[in-house]
């Protein structure tokens, strides 16, 4: 018995899906029979990931866009709707965590442009994508949105910057309010707060930082992208039809809320 046959035929938009967690999410949805739009700022990564999914027999298209840019995102969404149909499930996953020589800039050294870019990508990007897809979800009376927060949005987490923590906390407020607003339209909105997950994003810090994270994690390992993907699958499935406004930690017990 498959519990997520409810995903067959759904149209899923995953942002930042060219690599890492987003790519694993795209792969997981395709495996459930969904049609997936792999959106990424990096055109080549989006195309490569989509090609890999198509080669495996799935339905996927790669689209290049900057989630922080409304016009770019709207144009990409037009292509998605044209090729696959309107979006049923949105995974706001695109995110950046700038480092300088493996460390985040302290506040006095953080330039405003970097702060603004992180807010634009991590937070405004989720707002713009939701704004663009929600009308079609409302028209259908069904939809599901998952926002990629982080344990860094819920508690102090060393090795990331204040901009990153602020946007990941803001995504939780965004999730909660949107869940309340969209619930009456049959749309669920939830967030995932991953702990330390083995992707290119965390390869930019010294190995000792990740080793320390493992020691502080009860399950004694880094998470894998698939660990986050299975949570995203579940939250958007019929099985989670009464779950909305929630934040699920996928952190091996590093944080328990």
């Amino acid at each position: 018995m498959t519990t997520n046959s409810s995903h067959a035929g759904r149209v899923v938009l995953v942002t930042g899906a060219g690599q890492g967690i987003g790519a694993a999410i795209a792969r997981a949805f395709v495996a459930q029979g969904a049609a997936v739009a792999v959106l990424d700022l990096d055109h080549e990564r989006a195309a490569l990931t989509a090609d890999e999914l198509e080669a495996a027999g799935g339905t996927a298209i790669g689209v290049a866009a900057d989630v922080a840019d409304r016009a770019s995102l709207a144009a990409a969404l037009d292509r998605v709707v044209h090729r696959l149909g309107t979006v049923d499930i949105l995974i706001n996953n695109a995110g950046i965590s700038p480092k300088h020589d493996g460390a985040p800039a302290p506040i006095d050294a953080m330039d405003e442009a970097e702060w603004r870019r992180v807010v634009d990508v991590n937070l405004t990007g989720a707002f713009l994508a939701a704004k663009l897809v929600v009308p079609a979800m409302q028209a259908k009376g069904w939809g599901s949105i998952v926002n990629m927060s982080s344990v860094a949005g819920r508690t102090y987490f060393p090795s990331i910057g204040v901009h990153y923590a602020a946007t990941k906390a803001a995504l939780i407020g965004f999730t909660r309010h949107l869940a309340g607003d969209l619930g009456p339209h049959g749309i669920t909105v939830n967030a995932i707060a991953p702990g330390r997950i083995r992707t290119p994003l965390i390869a930019s810090v010294p190995a000792a930082v990740n080793e320390a994270a493992i020691q502080a994690t009860p399950l004694r390992r880094l998470g894998e992208p698939i660990d986050v993907a299975t949570a995203a699958l579940w939250l958007t499935s019929a099985d989670a039809g009464f779950v909305t406004g929630q934040v699920v930690d996928v952190a091996g017990g590093w944080l328990m809320t």
């Binding site: 519990t3 619930g183 004694r220 986050v228």
Partner: protein
């Protein structure tokens, strides 16, 4: 994909609305089950209905407030099925009383069923649980936002949430321990509450309805499954948005 082939589940309070839906789900996913509750005769009937061949479902009376009953249940599961992988503690008691009028024995009874019961059953199960196994405790929204005229119940459920986290630390990395926190689920347990102020509560629920027992069962199954293999110490809320916080 969620699959429990070869896995053995011990489920307490199995006669309850949420637990029965949970038993059906786990059976459909391939698990073998030991179902326990207060009334052994009624359980036998439930067992026969769920599994007419009797090959995959065993039933047994267990009062969760009695430590020896927990040991007997764990022993029975291991004797019959050869192993124990999953524990779901669903027995619960939800009487109504204001604190100022609450008799000592009612306080003790509610703590005994909702909290002591989780401890006794868990303690008995730990030595038998196979590595890779999982525990899910049924906590409650009441433990997070309080519940007027159910202070004993809410206190016990809040404690179950903390117990869950501590146990997750203690049993990692071999066994994952999580909780579900249902909101208002359509079972006999919430009927008095719904009769008193149902309209108001539904108006406050973004999804605008009561949850179904099978929707809680699905959350329990997810947390027990490999799909949640990096999730431990977590509380998953199934409440239609009635409580959105923390």
């Amino acid at each position: 994909m969620i699959g429990f082939d070869g896995k053995v589940l011990l489920l307490t309070g199995a006669q309850g609305g949420i637990a029965r839906a949970t038993a059906e789900r786990f059976l459909a996913h391939g698990a073998r089950l030991l179902l326990t509750d207060l009334d052994g005769t009624a359980l036998e009937e439930l067992g026969r209905r769920l599994d007419p061949t009797g090959g995959r479902v065993l039933t047994m009376a267990q009062d969760v407030t009695v430590p020896a009953d927990a040991l007997r249940a764990v022993t029975a599961a291991v004797e019959r099925f050869g192993r124990l992988d999953l524990l779901v503690t669903a027995a619960g008691l939800y009487p109504e009383a204001l604190v100022r009028d609450m008799p000592d024995d009612e306080w003790r009874r509610v703590i005994a069923v909702n909290l002591d019961g989780v401890f006794f059953t868990t303690r008995a199960a730990i030595p038998a649980l196979a590595p890779g196994g999982a525990i899910v405790n049924v906590a409650s929204m009441a433990g997070h936002r309080g519940s007027r005229a159910h202070a004993h119940y809410a206190a016990a459920k809040g404690a179950v949430t903390s117990f869950t986290r501590s146990l997750a630390l203690e049993l990692a990395p071999a066994i994952r321990v999580n909780a579900v926190a249902p909101g208002l689920i359509d079972t006999p347990m919430v009927q008095p509450l719904m009769a008193a102020k149902g309209e108001q509560l539904l108006a406050q629920t973004p999804l605008g309805r009561l949850g179904r027992a099978d929707e809680v069962a699905d959350a329990v199954a997810f947390l027990c499954s490999d799909r949640a293999s990096f999730i431990t110490g977590e509380t998953l809320h199934v409440n239609g948005g009635l409580h959105i916080a923390g």
